[in-house]
Symmetry: C2
Subunit: 359 residues, 2 copies
């Protein structure tokens, strides 16, 4: 499972916001580090794993939350930056637990937290299994992030009524993301080939979570009316799915230098993406059997990867995915044009960035 996505160029406004989000996260983590230090200095490696993870990331959820607020007429105040930063803590928790569930080696270009903690165990020659220690530590690190996310939300300097109203979105987002993660696991273990099911999982695991819910949270906090919220809803759903589809395409056809992952890794991991489902729907029975055999094969070599790519191209699945991305982007762009400035410009630019074929 991958929860981030690549290929987005950051507009300048987003870049500026990123700096302020990072500052808020740094302050929050410094406060929590004091709490942990007060308990025991042995907790430092746990804190380091969280801090290092939070140094990276595109802060996309934070950006959509912030611009959702601005679009609803909210001012550029610290309270909304706190809520936006809280979403990044939630995302960090999701990544920490996701990496444990997938047993991933790396995250954001660094060893994953459970690998780091396993290395700590090994380096000290401690008793028992380094892997178990690393897994348990990363689960706890994720739990800490979930708690700190909630803390940051509750303490945000925004009117109590606004925070109470935003909770319905905040709570729903958390439940839906965990649910989407479980459904995604089910897709992999059931080796689902349904385009419809794959799109349903995308909706809960990525589309709603990356764009729609952060936007709706910002909008709700800012007191957006039903019309604007409905626009956010549609924009978010469309752009979120377009982003995820682009990520799926990049996962197979992308340049490793851009994606940060070895070419074909998604295929070796057996990811059941919409692109895969479209391929299985369109290729011949013999090709489909071959695709099923290759998907999830950890020893799949370059020739095997190239063959799968060719089947995706020749079957028309790649074109179909690109068509879906174009349609979804066009819809998001059309909705964004109705959002009040200055949010409109940023939302439009984010659509454009997402439609770029970074390959």
């Amino acid at each position: 499972m991958r929860l981030g996505f690549g290929g987005v160029e950051d507009p300048a406004d987003v870049e500026d916001l990123k700096v302020r989000i990072s500052k808020t996260l740094d302050d929050t983590l410094a406060r929590q580090a004091d709490v942990l230090d007060g308990i025991s200095e042995d907790l430092a490696p746990l804190m380091d794993a969280v801090s290092d993870l939070l140094r990276g990331g595109k802060r996309l959820r934070a950006a959509f939350c912030y611009w959702g607020w601005r679009g609803a007429g909210g001012g550029d105040i610290p309270g909304i930056v706190s809520v936006a930063a809280a979403l990044e803590l939630f995302q960090a928790a999701a990544l920490l637990h996701d990496d444990v569930m997938d047993d991933s080696d790396t995250r954001r270009g660094m060893p994953s937290a459970h690998r780091r903690l396993a290395a700590l165990h090994r380096g000290n020659g401690w008793l028992g299994s380094p892997e178990t220690f690393g897994m348990a530590g990363a689960v706890l690190a994720g739990d800490l992030c979930l708690s700190w996310c909630d803390e940051l939300y509750a303490q945000a300097d925004l009117p109590a009524e606004a925070l109470a109203a935003g909770r319905s979105v905040f709570d729903r987002m958390r439940t839906e993301l965990m649910s989407g993660q479980y459904l995604d696991m089910l897709e992999q273990v059931q080796a689902s080939t349904s385009v419809e099911r794959a799109r349903h999982v995308i909706l809960y695991k990525s589309a709603k979570y990356i764009v729609q819910q952060p936007l709706l949270l910002g909008g709700t906090l800012g007191g957006a009316g039903p019309e604007l919220l409905s626009a956010y809803d549609e924009y978010g759903r469309a752009l979120g799915e377009a982003f995820q589809l682009r990520d799926d395409v990049l996962g197979v056809f992308g340049d490793p230098a851009t994606t940060g992952k070895p070419a074909g890794d998604d295929l070796r991991e057996g990811k059941r993406t919409v692109l895969v489902a479209l391929t299985l729907e369109r290729c011949s029975p013999a090709e489909a059997a071959q695709v099923r055999r290759s998907l999830g094969d950890p020893r799949l070599d370059t020739a095997g990867v190239n063959h799968l790519r060719e089947v995706m191209r020749a079957s028309g699945a790649l074109d179909a995915a690109e068509d879906m991305i174009s349609d979804l982007s066009a819809r998001a762009l059309s909705v964004a044009s109705g959002v009040p400035a200055p949010a409109r410009d940023v939302l439009e630019r984010l659509v454009t960035s997402a439609t770029v074929r970074a390959q």
Copy 2:
């Protein structure tokens, strides 16, 4: 690691409260089940694992929270029952993740959540490892409980200022429990033999979490003054440690019919308890070497368990642990006598229950 504790008889008031806590939890889970059903019926096994886990439990944290509120002059209103129930959701999350970290087979007399989900995977003949699927599902189930705990707290029908004041305790409790869990892991892997370190871990993993923080949360929500909060602090710290020490003793000397665990299981798991530390401190070097070899040996037989028990008795470690329990209980009882009725009576009875040698 064990987060609950045994041997406590429930006074009638506590029993009545348990019914209301269970009702609140049932209502909460029914609401969340509707949300999950709206996403996908495939989420039912995840929901079932959470519901079944929450049907059990002594509701001790909830009780201390409730009586902390009553002791501060708070009335018998639904809002405090909601907050108390939220603590049980937090405890469920801790248990779900704890069982994953320890790879435990059972919890509250039933198969643990990750085992249940692994069995679901196996029964359906799904792809991949049943164990990995079970582990990932249980991590997500715990994450859901953390989110729902927070949701229940935030929605509790109590004055906003009270809830805001209580957050400092609520937040600290969560951070400290996760930290305590990590320190507990460190104790096991470092095979620590220090009484002082073992007591430090108990403080954060159990003593504060079982009694002190729930009491302080209830008290803070109820607007308790510094004197009462200080009494709760001292009572909670002492009784929590006494409870945990009793649990440690029962873990070695308890009747399996009462503890729900096979005799000597704590020894086979290599739990680094205060009782173990006291033993290593007092026995001969030859005995200490033997204890170290036996602790954590999964094949330790009845004769081996009996031998360890004999070393604990003969070295005076068991008596020392019982003396600590007596001293701590006396301190808690003395503090409880100064708390306003009706909380005083319940707090006193809970001390008495905890000091009973249920063996």
